[in-house]
Amino acid sequence: MDERRPFLSEPSSAPVVEVHGLVKDFGKFRAVDDVSFDVRRGEILGLLGPNGAGKTTVIHMLLGLTTPTAGTIRIFGFDLAHHREEILERTNFSSSYVSLPYSLTIRECLLVFAGLYHVRRPKARIKELLETFEMPELGRKQVRHLSTGQMSRLNLAKAFINDPELLLLDEPTASLDPDIADKTRTLLVHVARERKVSILYTSHNMLEMEQISDRLVFLHKGKVIATGKPADVVSAFAGENLEAVFLKIAREKKP
């Protein structure tokens, strides 16, 4: 058995992420209200909803950045509240809106994260990632000098540094040009299908969500209002496509 992927021995139907009855209150405001879902091995789960729906709060709770008010989060079968370190060693995260140390070069930055995730043969891994994300010539460039698109690609390279079994991606293609965005989607589908990486994904690009998500969890005002395959969600709301459903729900202003 591959030592880095002990869960390979688990049945493929076993959920990698199990969220049950998740609640988050900020004072009197309930940002996340009794949310439950799971992410299976090798599955791409799209988490969507209008601004303020609670997507980012859910992701932050899954990463251990924010403490839930109630509910349980189990990842790889472990309770996140008690096994944060073990879980995060096998997980990674990328967001187009998060920076990396801007005084460091791309290579230095990835070396630091390779160390944090205890990556073996980090230089070879970094070379491989720079080629995957089409920036092999940028290794010595300081992060501060990167364009928004290059920054997004670096964030994605960082997210793949530890060959994660679970990827949490917050609008990873938001700042990418159509070519790189398409290649990124292809890569995400490839790692999910071939390497059985589980991906929890948020995006405001509904076409993208329909294309690559195996299932969707639709959040509105902190509550889950629909789950299922993209086509099922579209038909449940009698829409033409996911974008039409999204607009309908967002403009109704009620769950």
Binding site: T57, H60, E86, L100, S103, G115, L116, H118, L168
Partner: protein, 263 residues
């Protein structure tokens, strides 16, 4: 705690200094100016024969030791602020890095700054004013340990407040240690202070270190009781600062502020 994660984060601070002349100068520039000003003041006082024996040693020894306290606190707070300014905090804390590993790395970064700055000041004091800082002898070891411990305690306290209240509180990173200077009896004996402040000084570990330093330079005995008192206070303050940090850190996670540090 995992050594590879501490090393990786430490590497991040080394990379920062490798490429940044202003950051490197910050370690050398202020100590140089302090040393020049206080060096000339002490030379003037020595020449004017005001009846203060060992005045150069008193002032320059005190200056270097004070800088050790100040740098040890800055080493914690400013290294933390580097992550805040870079908006890198979120990426660090979605990795397996633990808060204990993070604080340990801040302490290591602080030690490097102390060695560089104090070494530079000691060398300059010897070259410019013929003052050998190491004449204080083995007493230097407990003096320095006590000052570093107090600096770290202040550093953890200020870092926790910045973590909780955001960048509006970052002025504390430079200001809090200086608050302790008047009652630390750095350049004058505690007896100079008004009675109320003498009582306050009793509970400031640094005041015992500086009193001890003056005793040693004057040829007096090793100030065992002063240092035991300072060590006890430091243990208490260090533990209290870590409890305070842990308390605010839990609150920050509860309020969802950890993901917003640097915004």
């Amino acid at each position: 705690m995992k050594a590879h994660r501490i090393y990786a984060l430490f590497l991040r601070y080394l990379y920062l200094y490798k490429r940044s002349l202003p950051r490197f100068m910050e370690i050398l520039y202020w100590p140089l100016l302090d040393l020049l000003v206080w060096g000339f003041v002490s030379v003037y006082l020595a020449r004017s024969q005001k009846g203060i024996p060992n005045v150069v040693a008193f002032f320059l020894g005190a200056l270097i030791l004070w800088d050790i306290l100040f740098r040890s606190q800055l080493g914690i707070s400013v290294s933390f602020l580097e992550d805040v300014w870079a908006r890198n905090f979120l990426n660090l804390f979605v990795s397996p890095l633990t808060i204990a590993e993070y604080l340990t790395t801040l302490m290591l970064a602080s030690l490097v700054k102390i060695v560089l700055a104090a070494g530079f000041m000691a060398l300059l004091a010897w070259l410019l004013y013929a003052f050998d800082f190491f004449v204080i002898g083995v007493s230097l070891v407990p003096f320095i340990i006590n000052l570093v411990a107090l600096g770290w305690a202040i550093g953890f306290f200020t870092t926790a407040v910045i973590l909780r209240f955001g960048q509006q509180a970052e002025i504390l990173a430079w200001g809090v240690a200086v608050l302790f200077q008047p009652v630390s009896a750095v350049f004058y004996p505690v007896t100079v202070l008004p009675p109320v402040l003498q009582t306050v000084a009793k509970y400031v570990p640094a005041s015992h270190v500086f009193e001890g330093m003056r005793a040693v330079i004057s040829g007096g005995a090793f100030p065992v009781s002063e240092l035991l008192w300072a060590g006890g206070l430091n243990l208490l303050y260090l533990a209290a600062s870590l409890v305070f940090f842990a308390f605010l850190y839990r609150g920050v996670k509860k309020k969802g502020l950890l993901a917003r540090v640097g915004e």
